[in-house]
Every structure is written in C-alpha cells, then in structure tokens.
Symmetry: none
Subunit: 226 residues, 2 copies
C-alpha cells in the first residue's frame, strides 16, 4: 500500500494549522482531507473512512473529545486511527483524550519531521489488516470501490477510472437498464463527440472481467443482469 492510498482527515478550526499539516502530508503523497469543525468532520469521516484522523482538541462547537467519542460509535470508523492535536502542557485533555478512545496525540507547535514519522508509524498498523475497504458483492464478482478493483474467480482486476465508474453505475441498480443518455451524462457529462466511446468502454469491462452479465438493450442502453 502506497502513501497515496492512505486517507488522512485533518480537523481544526484554525486554517493556518490545517495549511501546515496539509503541506507536510501532501508532500509525503498522503491523500489529505481537511475540515474546519467537528460536526462536518463526522459526516466527512463516515463518507470517506479515513485511515487516520487528526483532531484538534480545542474547537468551537463540537470539540475534539466529543467528536472523537461520536466517531467511536460509528462502526465503519472502527479501524480509523484517531490522533489528538493539543497544545503543549494540556495534560488534562491528553488524558480525557485517551478516555475518549484516541490512539495517540501530537503536541503543538508541530515539528514536521516528527509528524511524518509519527503518522508513518501509526499507519503501519494498516499493513496488518489490509481489508479495511468497502466491498459490494454482485453475482459472482466482488467490487472494491476505493481500490477501483474487482475480484472474479480469485483474480484481482484493477479497472481504470472510466471503466470502473461504468461498472459501478450499472451495478448501482442491478437489472435496471440505464439509457445511453443516462450513462453519458453520469460518466462523461454530455460533452462527447463519438457515440462509440461508450461501446469501447463496455467492451473493455466485459473483456477484462470475463463476465456475461452486462447486457445490451438495443435502442435503449445497457444493464448489469444477475
């Protein structure tokens, strides 16, 4: 697993802290999400299932401790590592932090080299259980959205973006016939000169997955049949 495959969520109300953290971590090629308050953080976290969440303790509204507690009740986040960001000397919040279920804390002011090393160490945990991804089982294939990957007959197939999006769309409602227009507007967004582009992508998916599930409905569109 490469750095860019790790998602790190930064939560802080101070934009310059976020800027700094983001700068350091994107330089290391991590995928960084940032948000300015606890409420939004909960939503974003649930949607994105970050591997690591860096939470500032002191925030207006929902503070770090509360946000952390809430996060711990969200089962899809049970594998996410939560780290507090705290000003030096805030002993109390460190203890309350561990109570709330945090895994570690980082002291401000931030030392870039230390931060990177710490993040790296924490993320190493994920090496042990790779399987933290959403999967969707349709017919005899398994689709991993975050990995853009499909497993069929124990074979792992990585699909390029467009091909994967196409498959994902069709599979989002199995047996439904998606019109060519629906597909175009969802995946290409109307502007496309050649009508054939879509056919080619359909072909690629059929070919790579070696499945017969994608059916053509002439004059209408395509469907994924089970």
């Amino acid at each position: 697993m490469k750095n860019k495959d790790y998602k790190i969520l930064l939560v802080d109300d101070e934009a310059d802290v976020l800027d700094m953290l983001e700068a350091i971590l994107t330089k290391e090629k991590y995928t960084v999400l940032r948000i300015g308050n606890g409420e939004d953080a909960l939503r974003i976290a649930e949607e994105n299932k970050p591997h690591l969440i860096i939470l500032d303790v002191m925030m207006p509204g929902l503070d770090g401790i509360e946000t952390c507690k809430e996060m711990k009740t969200i089962s899809s986040l049970h594998k996410s590592i939560i780290v507090f960001l705290t000003a030096r000397g805030e002993d109390f919040s460190q203890i309350a932090g561990f109570d709330a279920g945090a895994d570690d804390y980082i002291v401000k002011p931030i030392n870039p080299r230390l931060l990177v090393r710490r993040v790296k160490a924490l993320l190493r945990r994920f090496t042990y259980f790779e399987d933290t991804f959403d999967k969707k089982i349709v017919g005899d294939i398994v689709i991993y959205k975050e990995k853009y990957m499909v497993v069929h007959n124990d074979e792992e197939i990585i699909l390029p973006r467009k091909e994967f999006e196409l498959l994902w769309l069709l599979v989002s409602k199995v047996n439904k016939v998606f019109t060519r227009h629906e597909i175009f507007s969802t995946i290409w967004g109307q502007t496309l000169s050649s009508e054939r582009t879509m056919d080619v992508h359909v072909r690629k998916v059929r070919e790579k997955l070696k499945i017969e599930n994608i059916k053509t409905v002439k004059g209408v569109g395509y469907k994924f049949e089970v």
Copy 2:
C-alpha cells in the same frame, strides 16, 4: 420502498434495550419485531424474513454470535442484514462477530440519531435486490419499465424498444382507446410512410406476450383492455 415495508427484528434479553430500540425505530415507521432470546429469534426470523436483524452479543442461552452463525445457515435469510449490539470496548466480540458473518455492529449506549442513520444506510443495500423496482401490474402481466421487461406466467420477456414503448403507452391508460394518430405521433413522431408499420408492432407484442388484452377498435385505434 417505504420504511414501513422494511422489517427489523430486534433480539435482546434486556427488555429496556428492546424498548428503546423499538421506540426509535417505530418512530421512523419501520416494522419492528422483538424477541428476548436467540432460540426464538431463529424461529421468528425464518418465519418473517426480516430485512435487518439487530442481535445483542451477550445473551443467556444462545448468544449473539451463535445465533448469527445459525442464521447464516438458513438460506431464506441469506439476504437479511445482521448487526450486532455490543458494549463499548468489547473488541473481541466485534471480531468474532464479523467472523460469524455480521455486516456491522452498533455500540451501546445507543445514540438514537446515529442508530437511525446507520439503519437507513444498511437498508439501502436492498436497492440491489429485485423488489425495489417499480412495477405495473395490468391484467396478468407485470411490466418493469426500468428493466424494459414484461413478466407473464413466470416468463420474462424482453421487448425491443418500439414494441415496449407501444405497450407502455397503451398500458399508461388501461381501457382507453388510443387513436392510430396518437400512437403514431407518440412513438414514431408523425413521419412514417407505411400505415402498416404499427399493425406489425401490435402483432409482435400480442405474439410475444401471448395475451388477448390488446384490442383493435376499427376505424379508431387500439386499447389495452382488462
């Protein structure tokens, strides 16, 4: 599919936990079944095929894990989603739970808002299953617009575009006589040289569906009669 169409089975030995869950979920209009132990839960589940089953891990007699494993062997329940109810910190049961085939878990104490959100998210899976399609039942045929498909006597019939559109039009107002002109302009858009084209399509639909419902009204047009 509306909330009341979803059946949720609650299994816990503590009545007050059941009370709380039931209160939250019935407020959201879900159809709720409750039961106090694993043995009965198996029977009730098999009889009712709930969409979602919330199982307390710690129960006297058959515990949650065992109940879950048993449920997984009942084929009529293989579409049911199973969620564990677990006290915070019961790490082991979480892992054993996933081993047993659970889809998610919920941590006590229960946060009503989170519970509702979670349940909603989990039930969304049923989007993938058959019965979420809009169907129109006319006479003894069932028409699935999204699938471009008609079912008659357990036989699935796929109609080509024009034929399906014709059927769909007639069926859009059962017993109404659509004039030939109406039909032409709706499906062909005025320009068509041969008057016979329509007859041929009507014939194809009658033939493929093996129904007598499409009646000719001489000098006027056609109707779908029930």
